[in-house]
Symmetry: C3
């Protein structure tokens, strides 16, 4: 089974070309370091429009067959921040442990980590994870949650993902 991973940058300004999408690039680079298996990225750069985010998540799952979609941006308390709402609308199962752990990790660096509303959930055979917007926080959060990602994808019927164990220790419980 091919490993396809969706990387969705949600940002009004980056999607208008006001600045470069460094966050999407940070996710791409981090996953490249983590994954020993061959994988293919499907990239989208879109504005903070809830309906568009929902359509993008569905398309990446249904049409592109991504087993994992990682979003960046739109998780704060500002009026235009709607990525968690879009994620919750699309997913049929929520995984609150991802958001809890990512906020806990970010709290070690900034007290404003509690303002992040990032979450994760399952849609079809796709795991969707919201990451924060800043490249530095992206790496911190991925380092914390990624060890559980390959096993989660096993459980929802996705491809078998192998990691570079010297970079990140992925965990599969012996059943």
């Amino acid at each position: 089974m091919d490993i396809k991973i969706g990387i969705v940058t949600v940002s009004d300004r980056a999607s208008q070309g006001v600045y470069e999408d460094l966050s999407g690039k940070a996710i791409m680079d981090t996953l490249d370091e983590y994954l020993k298996s061959d994988w293919e990225s499907v990239y989208a750069l879109i504005p903070d429009e809830q309906k568009l985010i929902e359509e993008t998540l569905k398309k990446l799952s249904e049409e592109d067959g991504c087993c994992l979609i990682v979003t960046t941006g739109g998780t704060g308390p500002a009026p235009r921040d709607v990525t968690p709402e879009a994620t919750e609308n699309v997913c049929t199962k929520m995984l609150p442990g991802f958001g809890e752990l990512m906020r806990q990790i970010s709290l070690k660096y900034v007290p404003t980590a509690i303002l992040s509303r990032q979450t994760a959930g399952i849609y079809n055979k796709t795991l969707i994870i919201n990451l924060p917007g800043k490249p530095k926080s992206i790496k911190e959060c991925l380092d914390a949650v990624f060890p559980a990602v390959p096993y989660c994808i096993d459980l929802i019927g996705g491809p078998y993902i192998e990691c570079n164990e010297d970079v990140i220790k992925c965990f599969r419980p012996k059943s």
Copy 2:
């Protein structure tokens, strides 16, 4: 007031007799160690069917008068895992602190703890708590959350539960 505790094992395979229900037994043994008060268990072993889980939770509360129902199994991200959804549908009040603490405790042992969606809530005069499926994790989680259980049952109008203080320290704040 009699102390009745519902123990619900949710598992397709155990309910088909493919393997023995060691999880239900682990809960029973742990509660036997904790409780100084006399108590009676009401046991159910059912498949991962959301509607059946909901009916079982309601029956144990309404007909059997359980002040506490503890479930095991069905809290992961797999398609058949629907225990948290059933619990949320039945409960009128959710208690997110239980899930948060149990995931935090389990994270000390396995990074896949964030995949667990277990929660807790109130239905009528019954506290319902989801536990993980594995006997070892069950004990770790119960040790963490049980100190708050007797006081919670006081607050919702249930029987007064006394613990073996040398085994588990239950806490009732002085008001």
Copy 3:
């Protein structure tokens, strides 16, 4: 822009005059210590009636123009405890990180902290935060979450709040 902060004590007994509202007073005193900016409090003392709590939160936001509303009481598992439900009904965005952090802090003091269902969210340009009922716990929780409050209010279009940095270190990330 004027800084108006709503302080809402939710308590059947205090609202009937059975005892003095020490919790509202504790919030007032704590905010007085924190804030260097001039501010004005808008106070309400109401019973545990969900509809009344919702109306009070809306009025403080819409009519009084509070940028922050802090509630105390009604966050437990008892049948009359409905403050989180009222808050969730009013808010258009939830901020789960506040409840998670406050429970984590309170857990250092009492194992029954997991029974608290307190949360936070945004309604219009107002941040609403549920605090526990006891004066001691109020201070512990505010100390933990307040460093993120002024920046949150910036993000939702509220007034610029300055803190007494020797009392509480508020944090605004450099963007």
